[in-house]
């Protein structure tokens, strides 16, 4: 795999959360995986140890991906191999997302999120 040299003048990234990352430069293989229980409540009381992933099937259903079995003959001639980025500005990277300036060989990212809304009626 071709190696590239990455030059980035200015980076302004505000938040990187939940197994996301910012990569400047080459990488070989990336696996990012995240599971989240997104609970929004009218009364913002949370007990910290709540919720079990096995209670919800969104965390266990198989996710089918197209197989990577296509026969590709790739011919690359590398005249120059620099990457120049003037300015990179990202406010948020979340739940196994990747900002990557540089080369990579194989990349796999998976995110599973269960949203729950809890409204307490005013009696």
């Amino acid at each position: 795999m071709l190696k590239r040299i990455s030059h980035v003048n200015s980076i302004d990234v505000t938040s990187i959360t939940f197994s996301s990352f910012l990569q400047i430069g080459d990488s070989k293989e990336i696996d990012a995986y995240s599971r989240a229980l997104a609970v929004q409540r009218e009364e913002t009381i949370f007990h910290g140890k709540e919720g079990r992933f096995k209670d919800y099937d969104v965390f266990s259903i198989p996710l089918f991906l197209p197989p990577l079995d296509e026969e590709i003959i790739s011919v690359t001639n590398n005249q120059k191999n620099h990457i120049h980025v003037g300015e990179l500005k990202i406010i948020g990277l979340s739940s196994s997302s990747i900002a990557h300036i540089g080369n990579n060989e194989r990349l796999y990212a998976e995110a599973r999120i269960k949203h729950i809304r809890h409204i307490t009626p005013n009696i």
Binding site: D26, S34, R52, I83, I98, E110, H115, H118
Partner: protein, 59 residues
């Protein structure tokens, strides 16, 4: 499939993105294989209207 690539310098002036979320990718560069998958679930029963009862305690 025959895929021929001639690589020169790769120059990007400015990238301005609000958010990159749930297994998404911003790539400036080459790659061989990318597999991104995400699943999220908001069926009707995930809307709970009732007194505050915490979820079952986690492991």
């Amino acid at each position: 499939m025959i895929f021929e690539v001639t690589n020169h310098d790769l120059c990007v002036g400015k990238i301005n993105i609000l958010g990159v979320s749930s297994s998404s990718l911003v790539l400036v560069g080459d790659t061989n294989s990318i597999q991104l998958v995400s699943a999220f679930d908001t069926p009707p029963e995930s809307l709970i209207i009732g007194p505050l009862v915490p979820l079952a305690p986690g492991g």
